[in-house]
């Protein structure tokens, strides 16, 4: 684990979560401890349905934990904490609002004064290369563009922590690669904590400072890999490199151990 120079932004201490089902209690997260630093990009990989999403939801205050504790910026999570941005696999845009209005949701909920909205929207749309689509409705956009709007709404909220639950999982291979590149470009310009869930190992290595490998349900951390690839990363060049392959192979093996 990296040596934290400051207190970690997110801290999970021995967290377990289980769901009540008609057939009894189903453990989904099993004594997970982890820390995410202030500008760290941490990726959680593991089989689908293993409980990684539950961890993210618990940090966002959407799910209660059964035991253990979660703190964000030193405060124990009990309901949604401040300055958290969340992205689901679905874009969750409001279909009856335009691109601009959807992004305004983030500004409004962050308490940004409406006098600044116009400028902020223009900046965000330029950053996300969506300027021409300011007044389009989500139904008029492609899947990749909708995800960019969703990312824009999150950035408008100015989160200190971004929790991303397979945010690009529903996109085709190429669009997914583009979104990964865009995310890195934005994050490398202005670093914040990201906790990113995926089951795509290449995506994990390409993005992460650190990859945590999870077991099938109930989720436990089975391996941890520091990804020491230089930044800013050129993902196209990176994918063919021996270092990149070594990391993906190591993670494949860690996952294989959990069968």
């Amino acid at each position: 684990m990296t040596v934290a120079t400051e207190a970690p932004r997110i801290l999970l201490d021995n967290v377990s979560v289980s769901y009540e089902t008609p057939r009894g209690r189903l453990p989904v997260v099993d004594r997970v401890s982890l820390a995410v630093d202030k500008a760290e990009f941490v990726v959680l990989v593991g089989p689908s349905g293993s409980g990684k999403s539950t961890i993210l939801r618990a940090i966002a205050g959407l799910n209660a934990v059964e035991s253990g504790s979660i703190t964000v910026d030193g405060k124990t999570v009990d309901g949604p904490p401040e300055h958290i941005g969340f992205m689901f696999q679905k874009d969750t845009l409001l279909p009856w609002q335009t691109v601009r209005e959807n992004i305004e949701v983030g500004l409004a909920l962050a308490g940004v004064s409406p006098s600044q909205w116009k400028q902020r929207i223009a900046d965000l749309l330029a950053l996300l290369r969506l300027s021409e689509f300011r007044d389009a409705y989500p139904a008029q956009l492609s899947g990749g563009m909708r995800h960019r709007v969703s990312l824009g709404r999150m950035l408008a909220y100015q989160p200190a922590v971004m929790l991303m639950d397979e945010p690009f999982g529903a996109l085709d291979f190429q669009t997914k690669a583009v979104m990964g590149r865009e995310l890195l470009r934005i994050w490398e310009a202005e670093r914040r904590s990201i906790l990113f869930v995926t089951h795509d190992i290449e995506e994990a290595v390409a993005l992460a400072d650190r990859v945590l490998v999870f077991s099938p349900r109930p989720a436990r951390i089975v391996a941890e890999h520091q990804i020491d690839l230089p930044r800013p990363r050129n993902l196209r060049a990176l994918r063919g490199s021996p270092d990149f392959s070594a990391y993906t192979r190591a993670i494949w093996e860690a996952l294989g151990d959990t069968d």
Partner: protein, 271 residues
């Protein structure tokens, strides 16, 4: 900016306008109507006794006379106000009940059989009771109309709220959105299409309610006019009344359609 994948996505042009008027469909519609009216006109009196079917020219004359004397407005305004009052009362009462049923699942489960029982009850059978309670007043017909319509709103609104994507609400919650904000931005816009659908279905039903009320006891209204004409073996009068009722339903439908186009434009502007 020279990213090939982005370039490829650059855009989804908006497709051709769908709201344009389809002229050839209009022409065909006209041809169909004129053709059927001609067949009716010339077969009546030849193939069968026109006593049973009247004929379009006679019906047209009757309508003209009704317009000229102004009698028509008395009947149309009566029926329309009964139906509209019933419709809006149904919306005003049904919508909050629907919201409450979607919100309090436990209560909804408990009352569900009763709601469905009332819904399944042929409301026409309530007409004698309403006449008994409220006489042949306007209110009796409004209640009849209301009883037809209110369930449409209750059931549609409940269903509309239940189909809201929970992730949408969760996403708002992660940004610490107040309840009122979620209601305004997510819940209410989500039920708008269901409300419009309810109005669309409800308009026809509210007319049924008003007319049924008039059939049982009234002294004016299109339903009353039809029954009276029937009683006097005046088929021309019956058809004139039916024609006016059909016209009302068509106009109402068109109004709803226009409202829908405006309110749900985000749906129609697909690529």
């Amino acid at each position: 900016m020279t990213d090939p994948v982005i370039a490829e996505e650059i855009l989804a042009p908006s497709g051709p306008a769908r709201d344009g008027i389809d002229v050839s469909a209009l022409v065909w519609r006209l041809v169909l109507v004129i053709g059927l009216l001609l067949i009716w006109e010339f077969s009546a009196g030849n193939l069968f006794n026109e006593f049973w079917s009247s004929r379009p020219s006679l019906i047209g004359e009757r309508l003209f006379a009704l317009f000229k004397s102004g009698e028509i407005w008395r009947h149309v305004s009566t029926t329309v106000s009964e139906a509209l009052l019933g419709l809006f009362l149904g919306a005003i009462v049904g919508t909050p009940i629907g919201i409450a049923l979607a919100h309090y699942r436990r209560a909804a489960k408990i009352v569900d059989p009763f709601v469905m029982g009332l819904y399944g009850l042929p409301r026409v059978a309530l007409a004698p009771m309403f006449i008994l309670w409220f006489g042949i007043s306007l209110f009796a017909k409004v209640m009849m109309s209301f009883s037809m319509v209110v369930f449409v709103f209750i059931l549609n609104v409940t269903e509309g709220i239940r189909t809201i994507d929970p992730d949408m609400i969760d996403l708002m919650r992660t940004m610490r959105a107040p309840r009122s904000y979620i209601l305004r931005k997510v819940t209410i816009p989500s039920i708008v299409p269901w409300l419009i659908a309810s109005f669309r279905i409800g308009i026809g039903l509210s007319l049924v309610g008003a007319v049924v009320g008039e059939l049982i006891g009234a002294n004016r209204g299109l339903g009353w006019y039809v029954v009276r004409a029937g009683g006097q073996l005046d088929t021309t009068g019956v058809f004139a009344g039916l024609f006016l009722l059909m016209l009302l339903a068509m106009i109402a439908n068109q109004i709803i359609f226009m409202i829908e186009q405006r309110a749900l434009h985000w749906r129609h502007e697909t690529r």
